[in-house]
Subunit: 324 residues, 2 copies
């Protein structure tokens, strides 16, 4: 018997709902409850639990670690929102916007401690290794956030630097979650490494897809297109375009977002015209497919039974939005 992804998600949500957050002081703990109960896709805990299941582990025993990665992820969002001056998170006011900066800093700190508190409830004999993975993962996420902020002030970001940044900022947390699930399942070192590579490739595909959809998403879905272009953000499309552009195109890519003479629509149109000329949407799409296929292929190498691989495939397909 194995759990489907939906069943796994329900199991996680019901366990998370039992998490006891103190009431006082209210300004410390209310933002934590607000963040954790604010929804989100629960990708990281789900991947942790599916990895534990895929490698023959006891899913119940992995729940405290699943809570830890979800709480840690929400903590990073809470502090990122201060750094990015972001007022909205998941359609609601961010903690920073609702309670102010000092509350967001301190309740974020407490939230990280809550993550470690949950993590320390895993089986005692597994704790040292789980802590090691968690700490390395957590530091990598901070490094990724710092590189992302560094890039805002950098004139030229190479494709390699960009991939390294998203590897830290996005993939590390998925890879760490998958590894912890595997370690708790008592998986071999080889399987732990395989599931790490699976989650890393998948995380990169996921982030590249996010970059692609921001400029080429389906407007029919009601998603706003071009936010990254208007902010002048470094994205995979931008760094690829910059690496291929002529001097004139490079100038357009660099200056358009801050040109006061243009409307938002004109800015988006102008940058996308360069993207189209340089074929970066297709290049990005290829990268996504390659990494997605590589992730799927790694699933086949895990030492496990066929029926336990399928939930991982479903997770991967849902994440990248593919039917097969």
């Amino acid at each position: 018997m194995f759990r489907t992804n939906d069943q796994m998600l329900c199991l996680f949500e019901s366990y998370l709902a039992q998490l006891e957050i103190p009431e006082e002081p209210a300004l410390l703990y209310a933002p934590i409850t607000y963040s954790i109960s604010g929804g989100g896709k629960r990708l990281r805990p789900l991947l942790l639990l599916l990895s534990a299941q895929a490698l023959g582990g006891d899913v119940q025993a992995a729940l405290p670690a699943a809570v830890a990665v979800e709480v840690f992820h929400n903590f990073t969002l809470l502090h990122d929102d201060i750094m990015d001056n972001a007022d909205v998170r998941r359609g609601k006011p961010s903690v920073y916007a609702r309670w102010g900066e000092n509350v967001a800093i301190l309740s974020g700190d407490a939230m990280m401690i809550c993550a470690y508190k949950s993590l320390s409830r895993v089986a005692a004999d597994k704790l040292p290794r789980v802590m090691e993975i968690f700490n390395d993962m957590a530091l990598k996420v901070c490094e990724g956030q710092q590189y992302d902020m560094d890039f805002e002030k950098k004139r030229k970001v190479s494709v390699v630097e960009y991939i390294q940044m998203i590897d830290s900022k996005t993939s590390a947390l998925l890879a760490g979650s998958a590894m912890i699930g595997a370690v708790l399942a008592g998986a071999s070192d080889d399987d732990v490494k395989r599931i790490e590579r699976f989650a890393t490739e998948l995380g990169l595909a996921f982030q590249l897809q996010d970059d692609l959809l921001d400029s080429y998403g389906d407007t029919a879905l009601g998603k706003k297109i071009g936010g990254d272009i208007l902010e002048g953000k470094q994205t995979y499309l931008m760094v690829q375009a910059m690496s291929r552009a002529s001097e004139a195109q490079r100038d357009t890519l660099r200056t358009t977002h801050s040109d006061p003479a243009l409307t938002p629509e004109q800015k988006i149109e102008r940058v996308k015209a360069v993207y189209d000329a340089l074929d970066v949407a297709r290049i990005t799409e290829q990268q996504i497919s390659q990494r997605f296929e590589r992730a799927l292929a790694i699933i086949e190498t895990l030492s496990t039974q066929e029926e336990l691989r399928e939930p991982l495939r479903v997770f991967a397909r849902n994440l990248i939005g593919r039917k097969r």
Copy 2:
């Protein structure tokens, strides 16, 4: 053989100097190196190591945990400085002043993770209990900081509430450090509880002394007097005075610090006149002595040899600045 407090401090400093902090990204890690190498009295790691020694433990084996409490303490200062808009720390620009707020938030986060990274190097069989103490201690410190910020907006803070706040903000980290040292030494639950009470009483005495010296310190030592009064801060002297004051005196205590017609010297003089009339310096001095004596008495109850108690007594005397 046992180590004197100076020897213990040297041992700690030389171990701390070996701590490897990565170089890149520089804006994430340079502030961590800057904070940790910025000095400080190293009270918490020293107490952790002295507790381990007093209860017959291997001091070397306690070093990773000693680094963890010191790094955690420095992390709290880093984030506190943002919340308090504090530009100076230990005579140098604070991380917040030198690198700005975003860097201070993120490098503080990374610093907390570094603390956990060091902590996880303790003996594997002790890690679950050590983590439990560390997490509870860390959350308590956050609670104390939140209560302290709450008090700024509160009209009336009772003496009991104030003691609870400093118990969390100041004593918890000392008590947790002492407990971790004891646990690593393999001490009995009773001895762990005793050393917790010892450090708690000592921490309260230390904070009350700090409050007292801010208003009644020796100006000959070059210390500025009256900072707390000018900021309108809640201190033990203030909450004691408020609990004993007449309506008129209460009014003076509440409004003096923000009275634009008065010079700083006049403000300090006016508030201290009320303190003197209500005898709060003597009351505070009594509280300090009581708690200090209680802490010393607890040392005598530890299941250990006489020569191992003495370093703890020396630590207590140095902390409170007493000869005997």
